[in-house]
């Protein structure tokens, strides 16, 4: 059959026809204008991802060649934004290495030096400030985090009757955050570090809901780092600057520890409460501690997450 246009409505005279057409045209025009107006804020969208970034493949599918290109893109972008040429590396886990952190709760005085050293090392946003380490002030006798004070401000620490418990990503052997990520943007590496591909994360924040240690942080807005504070020694899965809308967290300072150095939080600790090393090496300090100390606490052991972060006491 042949398609026929619907004939004009029965009561149509030429005049009302043109009036109706005019009204339709006006409505369509008004609608389009309103649509454009409501989308107007998008004009401020500055750093929308470049097509290179948009099309970038998943980390584990990048060939060495692709990686070189990705790294030079990141270096270019950082230089453009901060005026500093960074040194970005894609450091791989080393064979025969599994990292473990031990934290001596008898020694920790709650000075929060680690918190700030971490922010400086890992290029976190300063406004709003993102911190990976949260220090809880706990009343003597309890390991129940519900009793912890997160916002203590004291003229001098330690205060009597309290101990201090810094919490950061526990690098779980059985990490719930990895399990829930719908796009595999976060995974556990051979050396036990759970990392995030900031270029793959879609920002759904499911991992943040899943982590039993409240270790994950989200970039709710574009991170702001003063140029002069930028740490130019960067790793792809580590401290390179993040974008708005992606997840981040402690990664045991990948850019340092995979290059044979200690994490920044350990180096800054004034009382030596923090110990870090390779648990597969029987000579390492952490192996020694695990052999010699009587009690270790894995936070929320009953979760079955099996943290690689151990708390212990001297006496």
């Amino acid at each position: 059959m042949t398609p026929t246009l619907p004939p004009p409505d029965d009561k149509t005279s030429d005049a009302s026809m043109s009036r109706r057409n005019f009204l339709r045209g006006a409505a369509a025009f008004g609608g389009l204008t309103a649509l454009a107006a409501s989308l107007a804020p998008l004009r401020q969208l500055e750093d929308f991802s470049s097509s290179e970034e948009f099309l970038q493949k998943y980390y584990k599918e990048l060939t060495p060649d692709d990686m070189t290109k990705v790294i030079s893109r990141i270096e270019r972008e950082v230089q453009k934004e901060y005026g500093i040429r960074p040194h970005v590396r894609d450091l791989k886990p080393m064979d025969g290495v599994e990292f473990v952190y031990c934290l001596n709760l008898t020694r920790c005085i709650g000075c929060r030096k680690c918190v700030h050293a971490c922010v400086n090392e890992n290029n976190q946003s300063r406004n709003p400030e993102i911190q990976y380490i949260r220090v809880l002030k706990m009343p003597h006798g309890s390991m129940d985090v519900e009793k912890g004070d997160h916002t203590y401000e004291a003229k001098s620490v330690p205060e009597k009757g309290f101990f201090y418990m810094p919490v950061q990503c526990q690098q779980c052997q059985n990490p719930p955050c990895v399990k829930v990520c719908p796009v595999n943007a976060t995974w556990q590496e051979k050396d036990g570090i759970t990392v995030i591909d900031y270029d793959w994360c879609i920002g759904c924040r499911y991992c943040e809901a899943a982590c039993p240690y409240w270790a994950r942080r989200f970039n709710f807005t574009k991170p702001e780092i003063p140029k002069e504070r930028l740490n130019p020694n960067m790793a792809y899965l580590g401290n390179r600057p993040r974008k708005q809308g992606v997840m981040e967290k402690c990664h045991f300072c990948i850019q340092r520890t995979r290059a044979g150095k200690y994490p920044a939080c350990l180096e800054v600790c004034p009382v030596g409460a923090r110990k870090f090393g390779n648990i597969l090496d029987p000579e390492s300090e952490v192996s020694y501690i695990m052999r010699e100390k009587r009690v270790f606490i894995q936070l929320k052991e009953e979760m079955g997450t099996s943290p690689r972060f151990f708390y212990y006491f001297d006496k």
């Binding site: 920002g203 899943a210 809308g245 979760m303």
Partner: protein, 427 residues
Amino acid sequence: MITAARNYMIFIRRCTRIAFVGDWRYYAWMGLLTVISLLGLNAYAKQLVHGLIVTGMSDEVSWGVYIANFTFLVGVAAAAVMMVIPVYIYDNEELHDLVIFGELLAVAAIIMCLAFVTVDLGRPDRFWHLIPGIGQLNFPRSMLSWDVIVLNGYLLLNVHICGYLLYCRYQNKKPGKWFYIPFVFTAIIWAVSIHTVTAFLYVGLGGRPFWNASIVGPRFLASAFTAGPAIIILALQIIRHYTHYRITDKALLTLRSIVQVSMIINVFLLVCEVFKEFYSGTTHGVSARYLFVGLHGHHALVPWIWTAITLNLVAMVILVLPVSRSLRWLDVACVLSIVGIWIEKGMGLVIPGFIPTPLGAIVEYVPSLNETLVCLGIWAFGLLCYTIFLRMSVPILQGRIAKSNEGQPEIQGDEPETAPVADPLPH
């Protein structure tokens, strides 16, 4: 082949046309919804520029009203199809023609769900990472990947069923059983699955004791089967009022019995949950305590949840009493249960899961203005879609847009029917 395609194009064109004509009330309603949708779009554009910081969410409460609305609407979508059960399993004639309105509601609800998930993403530009093949869908480990699959599948199923039945109706052809009955049954099972999977999204998180309870799944279903049919009861009456489409009271009363039973189960499960959280007195119940009575001087959610409980109880009482056989009371009960369940599923389920945080900090959450506008925008857009779907399907079901009257003067949509076409939707 070509003729078929051409016929289909005419069908689409006529449907599109009818969506744009109507009397002043229709224009006013659609205009209002469009304006609200655009306000929401504007708010979302701002969020795209500045990030999710324009919402009330934080690292402590990392999901808010977006996910709350999503959760509620998954329930609506699931329940809309539940109407199908009495029709196909018990051969309930009264509801027969009305199934399609339920399925269209499901389609509109899923569209809203997908919109709510999208606006919650920090990087919506990377949505393609979710597409199997080119992206990296973490299936079957991540419950969210299950949700992506079941929601999209459900959307396709319902679009197919509605589209097929309506097009057959338009051509005045008997629908081929094999083209839709298997889909209808799949859709019924699928409806249960979308809601169960969404519940598992929460239940699967061991670090959040408030969600990590097996009762969450059954409660989701019970509340969905209350709110979903309640919405349909209201929608059907609106259709009846504005379109001369014949819907019997008996059909509405059949739905009433679904709402009635579900509401009783819903309230019972609530009692079970409250008992477990409070009587045992373990520290696991802190989130529940925060929700129902407040914690250390923080009680933002307390008025909400008690409002919800009151609404649900009043609705339940009305529903079990014979008064709800009168439509006026039934409507009251429906409105009360919809609002009550919306609060309970949203404010009452999603938010307290985050308070206190796993490290014991209490940070409260209040949706921001921008966030609220985005939500209103999505709701308005969903209603806009549903209105358009009804606008197209009602005249088709009435036989006033049909292949046989192609080329004749087009209807304006709501003039009283002159020649009522009596044959019911082919079974």
